[in-house]
Amino acid sequence: MEKAPINTIQDEIIEEFELFEDDRNGKLEYLIDLGEKLPALEEEHKVDNNLIKGCQSKVWLVSERTADRLKYKADSNTAITKGLIALLIRVLSEQKIGDIARADLYFIRDIGMNTFIGSQRSNGFANMINQMKLEAALAYQEMEKE
């Protein structure tokens, strides 16, 4: 089955979170649930080389290219960050590389989780988004050479 476009998935997520209105606790619990369902990253990938350092939470990220698409796998040592990672993977993983690099991830703000992006010191999440895009850009360069 063809993966839905990035913005279609973002809109789906926004709709899901609208159910919570401004129930912050409900949103966090939902994120924790999503994180729990995210397959754990194999231990061999949880190495410093794949570590995106935030001040408090650790995030590991690996990517794998197949033709013009990039697949991501990631994990975190904090439950809420892991939930956000699950959302990012749902939106970006297995998308076309160019689309990933150009993606405007408006869903984070729209579901009320922009605090994660603003506070770089407290969370590896913002760094993770940058890293995902960087890997897409690198994969794009690689693809151009082929």
Partner: protein
């Protein structure tokens, strides 16, 4: 003017809370419970009014102007120096240097006293529970001067190992810099004893009072402290204010920290003579408005009474210890015999970051992480903690809400 210590029965918490506008708001649809006081305290209305009065009534540059507003601003600014002198019981106002805060004060001493008094082969002693701001300036100084930094270990409970401290002391020790009360654990150090022992080998002692100043009586003369630093924003005052207390003879023997206006007597291109203390260390236009308002914070604390504040906070701490220990999987970090109102903890199987986020969803503000004490966290074999820290305006009900939140998190996430 020290207000007579009132008995605890006259401590009206509602009347206290009414003076802090910021507390009266909803966060994430819950009444705000602010328990990040070790990071910064909220400000009472008198401090906010003072800031407003300064800018609407007499904003002027100080010490130089001949006009009326300049005179009023100068008088107000210097009134804070007198209030700070009284607050730490310094012998004279000239021993109070205004700074941006503790970090600034420590850097001033490291740079000025350090460069003029520390040489190759000398030793500086700190403890393993120091804030990064009481580690890094000394590391930089030691590197520059070829001196050695020695670290007093701490116990599992978070207390300084006094026997190890005594062993580290020698005629090589030139300076001892110790936190009065730990920001990460709440531990109150035996500073009087530390000072006596350091003085016995001829070392000078700096106390980092960032965390202590709002909770404990500070009497630099009774302690015989050589330097004492504190931050205004942790004592209900504005950010960007602080003081460095130093003994006159030490301050006079120290070269200026920064060059500029205010700190000079006479400038020619051949050379400059420096102003007397405290102005020698206050180059440039200072943070006048905030320092003017800082006085009102100090007087506010005095009017409530340190003893009253401490009694109330100890009650909160005790209750927190009691209720938190009932939370499944919760372990208190920092169980020193003497503590200020800081409750640091970890919840087994739940990252502190998640604890902080989940509490925030309930309107409860705490801090999570290493609290700028990475070596201490390493010593305790933890990555970080969740930390609730209480101030005069916190209530027993709020402590109950914290415990309730943690019970919920423990049940949901473990």
């Amino acid at each position: 003017m020290k207000t007579e210590a009132a008995t605890t029965t006259t401590f009206d918490i509602e009347q206290i809370r009414a003076q802090f506008p910021v507390l009266h708001q909803q966060v994430n649809k819950h009444q705000l419970v602010y328990m990040d006081n070790a990071a910064t305290t909220q400000k009472p209305q008198v401090v906010l009014d003072a800031l407003n009065d300064y800018y609407t009534g007499f904003n002027s540059n100080i010490h130089r102007g001949v006009h009326t507003l300049a005179e009023r601003a100068t008088t107000a600014f210097e009134a804070t120096r007198k209030a700070a002198q009284r607050f730490v019981n310094a012998a004279e106002p000239q021993e109070i240097i205004f700074t941006k805060g503790c970090t600034d004060g420590i850097n001033l001493v490291a740079s000025s006293f350090g460069r003029s008094h520390i040489k190759a082969g000398d030793e500086i002693i700190i403890t393993a529970m120091e804030h990064h701001s009481n580690i890094v300036p000394w590391q930089m100084l030691c590197q520059e001067r070829g001196a050695t930094l020695r670290v007093v270990p701490v116990t599992e409970a978070g207390e300084m190992q006094m026997d190890a401290f005594e062993q580290l002391l020698s005629e090589k020790t030139k300076l001892v810099s110790v936190v009065h009360a730990s920001n990460a654990l709440g531990t109150v150090n035996p500073v009087k004893e530390i000072i006596q022992k350091a003085h016995a080998v001829g070392a000078v002692v700096l106390l980092d009072g960032a965390q202590a100043a709002s909770h404990l009586e500070v009497d630099v003369q009774a302690l015989d402290a050589d330097f004492y630093v504190m931050s205004g924003h942790k004592v209900y005052g504005p950010t960007g204010t602080g003081i460095l207390y130093g003994k006159r003879r030490l301050l006079e023997a120290m070269p200026p920290y920064q060059g500029g206006g205010e700190m000079i007597k006479e400038v020619t291109f051949e050379g400059t003579t420096y102003n007397d203390i405290p102005f020698k260390f206050e180059a440039g236009t200072p943070n006048i408005s905030d320092i003017v308002a800082f006085r009102y914070a100090l007087e506010w604390v005095e009017s409530v009474g340190k003893a009253n504040i401490a009694a109330h906070e100890q009650q909160l701490l005790q209750k927190a210890h009691e209720l938190l220990q009932e939370v499944p999987g919760l372990r208190l970090v920092g169980t020193a015999r003497e503590k200020v109102s800081v409750a640091s903890f970890i919840l087994d199987g739940v990252h502190p970051f998640d604890v902080g986020m989940m509490l925030d969803a309930r309107g409860i503000a705490i801090r999570t992480g290493h609290h700028c004490t990475q070596p201490l966290m390493k010593r305790l074999n933890i990555e970080g903690t969740a930390r609730a820290s209480f101030a005069v305006y916190n209530t027993l009900e709020e402590v109950g809400l914290l415990a309730e939140g943690l019970q919920y998190i423990a049940k949901r996430m473990r």
